[in-house]
Each structure stands twice: as C-alpha cells, then as structure tokens.
C-alpha cells in the first residue's frame, strides 16, 4: 500500500529531477526549456495515457529500466515531429537521411536515444543520491508505436506489473521549437514503499 507521505516525498524528488532535466535539455539544445507539468499520480494502468493527457496517434518511446535498491522504469515519450526536430538540433549538421519507411535515420535515432539516456540519468541520480545508493540503468530501448502500446510495452518490461502504477509525470517544452517531451517515471511500488519507510 502506497502512503500519502510516500507520494509527497516522491513528488519532492521528482520535482528536483525534473529541474535537472530542464537544465540538461537547455544545455544540450542551447534553447529555452520550460517544465509544464510535474505531478505524481497513482493511476490505473489503462488510464495512464488519459492521466498524462497524451493521445497522439503514434509516438516515440525510450524505455530505460533501472535496478538496485529502488528499482523502476523511465519512459520518455516524444511525438515523431518533436523527435525529428530535437535530433536535428542535437546533430547540428552531422545527420543523415532516414531510409524509406523509417521516421528517423540511424544517427537521428541514436541522438534521440541519448536524450532518453540523459533524461533518465537526471531522474535516477537524484534518487540514488538521496538514498545514498547506486542505481544501474539499462541502455534505452527505442519504440515507435501508438501511445497505449508504448506504455504497455514499457510496463511489460518492468518486473512488477499490477493493475495500478505510481506515475511521476513531467511534461517539458522547448519553447522556440515547439518540442514537447513527456517523461513517466514508474518506480516498482513495493520496493519504493520499503525505501521510503526506511527513511522515517
């Protein structure tokens, strides 16, 4: 059972992490980045897309699993145009053209995956340092699919899958370019409660 105090603490840590993501993205793109949403919810799995308010037909998802004393998953989601624009900013002329039928070229996909990597690190570094522990993350897994499938695919890779999930949701916008990025952090609920209990 997840307590209110745990959710409040998760919100505090999530806010710190989201601020780090904003700083990292601003440094990577040299553009103004703002955080539009920073919220924690206990949501039914099926309701996650509605809870976070994204209904685009297809999106790019970058899934990273992290393990250690406080395990969980981070899913970074971008619309296809946002991913294309962000990749081109990051590549600054180093890019190549996508093959027929692909939404991103190999180099564009690699740049977007690196963004997922840096975003995830921003989140879990704050948590690891707070609990004086080490969390080990996997390289990002790339998926391009309909939003419910992206989320389902992410949850299927997580070790614990129940009817509900604790979801920390951040929505970040690179204002000049109209690039939107949604970050879902899904800590494994049981382990998370144990870690927060140990803080008290």
């Amino acid at each position: 059972m997840i307590g209110m105090e745990t959710l409040r603490e998760l919100k505090r840590l999530g806010d710190q992490s989201a601020e780090m993501v904003v700083e990292s993205l601003a440094e990577m793109t040299a553009m103004e980045v703002v955080m539009e949403v920073s919220a924690v919810n206990l949501a039914e799995i099926e309701q996650i897309p509605a809870t976070i308010g994204i209904t685009d037909d297809a999106m790019i998802g970058l899934f990273v699993r992290f393990t250690g004393e406080l395990p969980g998953s981070v899913l970074t989601m971008l619309s296809i145009p946002s991913a294309q624009k962000l990749a081109d900013i990051m590549l600054a002329g180093m890019g190549d053209e996508p093959s027929d039928g692909d939404v991103l070229s190999e180099m564009q996909q690699s740049a977007v995956e690196e963004i997922g990597n840096i975003i995830t690190s921003s989140f879990i570094d704050v948590w690891a340092n707070e609990f004086t522990t080490a969390l080990t993350q996997t390289p990002p897994a790339f998926v391009c699919d309909y939003v419910p499938s992206v989320i389902d695919s992410a949850l299927a890779r997580a070790s614990e899958k129940g009817d509900f999930a604790v979801v920390f949701n951040s929505a970040i916008r690179i204002t000049d370019q109209g690039i939107d990025c949604h970050i879902l952090v899904l800590p494994d609920p049981d382990k998370m409660q144990m870690m927060f209990d140990s803080m008290e």
């Binding site: 180093m94 690196e114 990597n117 995830t120 993350q137």
Partner: protein
C-alpha cells in the same frame, strides 16, 4: 580511443577531439573496449558507463587491472555519487558528465595527457 554504445555520442566526441587528437579506435561496449585496448594501447580512453554486455566501470577495472598506467576518463550521463566513487575505485582518472561542452572535454584530456 572512444567507448560508447551511442553512434551519436561517438560522432560528437570525434568532432570535439578531431582538432587536436587522432581517434585510434571506437568500441561500442565494455567487452570490445577491453579487447581493443590490448590491440591499440591508446594514450587515453573516453569511456561511457551505461553500455550493453559490459559496463564502463567493469571495463575500466579490467583494463587498469592489466595496465595500471591506463588513462581513462569516464564520459557519462550518470552522475550518482556512488557510481563516481566506483569509477574512481576501478581506476578512472577523470569523470565528465553529459551533457558536456566540447572545451571541457578537451581540457580534461589535455590535463590527463600532461600528467
């Protein structure tokens, strides 16, 4: 020598380093890095941490175990205090967190090469 599973990061680091240094080899994971170090004996290694098959901390430990003078700088998105300590314990001589600015990477490399 560059060690990173990301094609984009390797291209970016190559661009940063190209003005002053030759890249003698590129590895995509820790296993490749350990083998490549044996073959190339590079002056310096820029090593990612999060990689498939073998992470950068274990690869660093393996390389430094055989070559105590190896000059390895971690170049990673991971900024956790415990991971930094583990990397230093494994034998890393420097630690750069992504996102980075090109001049800061060059400065770190020059500083270590001068030691």
């Amino acid at each position: 020598m560059l060690v990173d599973d990301s094609k984009f990061m390797r291209a970016l680091l190559k661009k940063v380093m190209a003005s002053a240094h030759n890249i003698v080899g590129e590895a995509e994971n820790g296993v490749e890095a350990v083998d490549m170090y044996e073959q190339l004996s590079p002056d310096i290694v820029l090593m990612d941490i999060v990689m498939p098959h073998m992470d950068g901390i274990l690869a660093t430990s393996n390389i430094v175990g055989k070559h105590p003078d190896a000059k390895i700088i971690m170049c990673t998105s991971v900024g956790q205090d415990e991971k930094v300590k583990a990397a230093i314990k494994a034998g890393a001589r420097g630690y750069i967190t992504k996102p980075f600015q090109g001049p800061s990477v060059l400065k770190e490399v020059e500083s270590l090469l001068g030691q």
